[in-house]
Point group: C2
């Protein structure tokens, strides 16, 4: 069992700071469309998207490493959609688009298999009630 410890401290208005030991502070705030600051602050919804995108990457890196695949680059976007629903605001989907460049083009099939395994084993995707859509482009 592992515990991941964070804290959040209100600063003023709709803003605060996120902390976790030995990691850089992250400014957080209400999204601007709900009265938060215009720029400079991560919103909780941003952090949901970021947790999924980074979990797909770290899961992928495990399988990529195990398969001996050599990465040139790995870039991805992760977007979360929030909508008004009858029961209030709800995050209804997350899409993750990954673009990978390989040092050895012949490893594309192995890379796609590693990404499939990452998609299945990512604990953050598995935690969410909404759909998580992953697409992978290999260059």
């Amino acid at each position: 069992m592992w515990t991941y410890k964070t804290s959040v401290h209100w600063i003023e208005g709709k803003t605060g700071v996120l902390r976790s030991e030995h990691k850089p502070d992250v400014p957080v705030g209400t999204p601007s469309e709900f009265g938060g600051p215009k720029e400079g602050y991560w919103s909780p919804e941003d952090l949901v998207a970021a947790s999924v995108g980074s979990c797909i990457m770290t899961s992928a890196l495990f399988f990529i490493d195990r398969a001996g695949i050599e990465l040139q680059s790995y870039e991805s976007s992760a977007n979360a959609v929030m909508e008004k629903t009858p029961s209030g605001l709800a995050i209804t989907g997350v899409t993750v688009e990954v673009a990978v460049t390989l040092k050895k083009p012949e490893q594309e099939a192995a890379l796609r298999e590693a990404m499939n395994q990452a998609e299945k084993s990512c604990p953050v995707s598995a935690l969410l009630k909404c759909p998580v859509e992953l697409s992978v482009a290999v260059k």
Copy 2:
């Protein structure tokens, strides 16, 4: 409908950087117990805890503001637990402990009501399959 856009870029080893427009970059990595760096990087699991903790805070700030409650301080911890399960690693619970100091002690009942409303309306808590336990201390 609102979209929250983030991206993650692999740097080297088990590390990368999270980006979102007009917000400071956040270093991310695999947790150290799974081969990631020892210090300095937010893990996906940290970001799950942080998204819940910050969502409870931003939701609370909405109701606190609406009720005319004057905060002296708002501090909270948010911890996520991950465990090995028959189907692999899973995040099995998040606990959020909030400590609030009020400028006017007579607003405690209103503050507790605002926290109840925040707990019910936080879109990140509602998105998770695992239990989210919230406790509130008022000083």
